[in-house]
């Protein structure tokens, strides 16, 4: 039992303790933003959008001239990843590109109106798009761009107050046009020996392990696919001597390259040879004769037009349906003439209504040059509906070539020819190719150099002799 005195003492003591132990818990907090940038890139020089690689996150594989997320000019507040909400900044850029479109979105740290300018140079000469209302979110889309082309762009963001305009510069590259057909052989020639054997020779493209060449023969028409005709050669060589051929017969040959990596054959380079009588004075006079030029009249579209008219859907095909592609870019046709670079593979693409494919027997492109004669390639249907393709190996030297894209409704007729001109020139590595033996319309480079050296030598010799 607690005595009264003790009870009062306890109360007083507790009062004192309570008064003395008055306490508040003080709390202060601080928040920071943590950000991590994930850039998908395996640096294998192959742009792989399926892994999320793009021109912004993976410039090594998907090249750009500058990295857009590294702005050339930033607000005074520092890098964009650490912007202050009191300073106008641009961040969070995300872009997608196709062969002919570009979409870009970005955020601003303050409401702003932006203008977007773009062009093929840093002058941004192709246009400007401007926002009319301020926002944090911004986006722009461009259409009808050129494939495989570097574009430059600039964003100018303006806030409400007198803070400086923020400028952001970058570039992007549109995706290259995907080519389906692997490269063909080049320089296909046929030389008939005196005993009526045919020496077929060609130049292989770069062959990987498992790649090989298949040569087919037919006496009715060109073998238009790797299973059409009689296989007379398979291997990695660059020539083949046929058995003795029959006089008075036209032989048709096609050379296909099998690419192990894609398990695809090239579209096929073709040629034909008419074997004359054994007593032909030409054969007697010359040991060999090149008969691949000109090919038999009945097949040459430049000499013999189709006597039968194709159905309207085929005869309506024009150069609008024909595309020439080099280095992932579509080559423009100006007044019916397409300028191509020498030394680079040239892909010929014909696009038709997929419903029309069942009406087309085959498509062949014939190239004619006054000094080289005819060179011909089959175009094959690709996995893309309505798309026929063939890839010609490097063009070697500047010259003008007529082409005829012959769309065969049936073999050999009716067919519809689409005509035009290829102008080979410009830069590129001269690696030999279908026109390498046809060149000199004028002087080639080596002859020109020899001429210059000879001229210098003569001048020096003349000067030396005169001084004596």
């Amino acid at each position: 039992m607690i005595q009264p005195v003790k009870r009062v003492m306890i109360i007083s003591a507790c009062l004192a303790l309570l008064c003395g132990s008055q306490a508040f818990a003080y709390t202060y907090s601080d928040s920071v933003d943590v950000s991590a940038r994930v850039a998908n890139c395996n640096s294998n020089t192959i742009c792989e959008p399926e892994f999320g690689e793009n021109t912004f996150g993976c410039p090594v594989d998907c090249p750009v001239t500058t990295t857009p997320e590294e702005p050339s000019i930033t607000p005074s507040g520092g890098p964009l990843t650490s912007y202050s909400s009191a300073i106008l900044g641009i961040y969070g850029l995300a872009a997608t590109t196709t062969t002919n479109t570009f979409a870009l979105s970005w955020l601003s740290s303050l409401p702003s109106t932006s203008s977007f300018s773009w062009g093929l140079t840093s002058d941004y000469e192709q246009g400007t798009l401007s926002e009319i209302s301020a926002s944090y979110d911004h986006q722009v889309q461009l259409y009808s761009l050129k494939p495989g082309t570097v574009y430059f762009y600039r964003i100018l963001a303006r806030g409400f107050d007198a803070s400086p305009t923020v400028r952001y510069e970058g570039s992007f590259i549109t995706q290259k046009i995907q080519v389906f057909s692997p490269a063909n052989v080049s320089n296909l020639q046929a030389l008939l020996t005196p005993d009526h054997q045919l020496n077929l020779s060609w130049s292989n493209p770069s062959l990987a392990r498992g790649d090989y060449v298949r040569v087919l023969e037919s006496d009715t028409f060109y073998p238009v696919d790797p299973l059409n005709g009689k296989i007379i050669y398979e291997g990695r060589g660059e020539s083949f001597l046929t058995e003795k051929l029959t006089s008075g017969v036209t032989y048709y040959f096609a050379v296909f390259v099998y690419h192990q990596a894609t398990r695809q054959f090239s579209s096929g380079q073709i040629t034909s040879v008419y074997v004359p009588s054994i007593s032909s004075p030409q054969i007697n006079q010359e040991n060999t004769q090149v008969f691949s030029r000109p090919i038999p009249l009945g097949v040459n579209p430049f000499l013999i037009p189709s006597s039968l008219k194709s159905r309207p859907e085929i005869s309506n095909l024009t150069n609008q349906n024909v595309t020439f592609i080099q280095d992932g870019q579509e080559l423009p046709a100006i007044s019916g003439t397409v300028s191509v670079q020498r030394g680079l593979p040239l892909t010929v693409r014909v696009a038709v209504d997929p419903m029309l494919m069942s009406q087309i027997e085959t498509i062949i492109i014939y190239l004619r040059n006054p000094s080289s004669g005819l060179t011909s390639y089959v175009l094959q249907a690709t996995s893309e509906p309505g798309i026929y393709e063939g890839t010609l190996s490097g063009l070697s030297r500047g010259a003008s070539y007529e082409y005829a894209v012959s769309v065969y409704q049936n073999i050999p007729e009716p067919r519809h020819d689409i005509r035009g001109t290829l102008l080979v020139g410009g830069s590129g590595t001269d690696q030999g190719g279908i026109f390498s033996n046809t060149l000199p319309q004028g002087l080639n480079d080596w002859l020109f150099l020899i001429f210059v050296f000879l001229l210098i030598f003569l001048i020096i010799a003349w000067s030396h002799r005169r001084s004596k």
């Binding site: 009264p4 005195v5 009062v8 003492m9 109360i11 007083s12 003591a13 009062l15 004192a16 303790l17 309570l18 008064c19 003395g20 132990s21 008055q22 306490a23 508040f24 818990a25 003080y26 709390t27 202060y28 907090s29 601080d30 928040s31 920071v32 933003d33 943590v34 950000s35 991590a36 940038r37 994930v38 850039a39 998908n40 890139c41 395996n42 792989e48 892994f51 999320g52 690689e53 793009n54 996150g57 890098p79 990843t81 650490s82 969070g92 995300a94």
Partner: protein, 252 residues
């Protein structure tokens, strides 16, 4: 009469005890194993704590020599309520950008921030950390999983090759024993091995540092390291991942 006198004398004694006791306490601060009385007061009235929904009020009557005085180096607040002011501050580091992560081949991004806490609170402080969302590190279409140690924090940051994760590791003189180690295991020992003892964030506070004494004027720094890692067989969607980290300092 004698009994009444005795009662009054007892009252006086008790009241005197109650008055004198705090004076003695001022001279020698009283404490037990569990509590510490930092200050007390000699006064004759007042209410220690009055509250409304918005305000707290503490008042005393009869104190002498109260008010603020100062010198070049010190500011003194004399009086019971002056001494009840406890101070705590926390620094505000810059936002953190982790180093870039390769989402295809895998890789790690790291970054860190220092929080400096100064308090004159004799009972010390505690420092806690939390994220604003779960999982903490997110982009518009993907996220890093919050790092999940097995029991105690992991001494080494480990992510399966087919996963990705985001975690933190505190370092500093006051870090919680949870994040101390013996050189190979966390939550044991007294070491503070660099880049060791990794844990995952959540939307609830996790204690990372604490002290039971005042640390003014120098304070104490807690460094929190952050790490986001994507495994070599994991495809992390490209983009910018963000989270907001809140660190809270509380006086005890």
């Amino acid at each position: 009469m004698a009994k009444r006198f005795l009662f009054q004398r007892s009252h006086l004694f008790a009241i005197g005890f109650g008055i004198v006791f705090p004076v003695l306490a001022l001279a020698a601060m009283m404490q037990s194993s569990g509590y510490e009385i930092q200050t007390d007061s000699l006064n004759y009235g007042g209410v220690s704590l009055s509250t409304t929904s918005e305000y707290f009020l503490g008042d005393t009557l009869g104190e002498l020599g109260t008010g603020e005085s100062n010198s070049t180096d010190y500011i003194m607040g004399a009086g019971f309520w002056q001494m009840q002011e406890s101070y705590i501050s926390i620094s505000s580091p810059s936002d953190i950008s982790l180093s870039s992560i390769n989402g295809v081949t895998g890789g790690a991004g790291t970054g860190q921030a220092d929080w400096h806490v100064v308090t004159d609170n004799e009972a010390g402080y505690s420092l806690m950390i939390k994220a604003n969302q779960s999982p903490a590190l997110q982009s518009a279409g993907d996220s890093f999983a919050d790092y999940t140690p097995v029991g105690d924090p992991d001494f080494t940051f480990l992510v399966n090759s087919s996963d990705s994760a985001f975690g933190f590791s505190p370092e500093g003189e006051d870090i919680s024993t949870t994040y101390k180690d013996n050189g190979s295991i966390c939550n044991t020992g007294a070491l503070d091995t660099a880049d060791a003892c990794w844990d995952g964030l959540s939307t609830s506070d996790k204690l990372i540092s604490a002290s039971s004494t005042s640390n003014q004027p120098h304070g104490a720094t807690t460094t929190v390291k952050f790490r986001a890692e994507s495994g070599s067989a994991h495809i992390q969607t490209s983009g910018t991942y963000t989270t907001s980290i809140t660190v809270t300092a509380v006086t005890l």
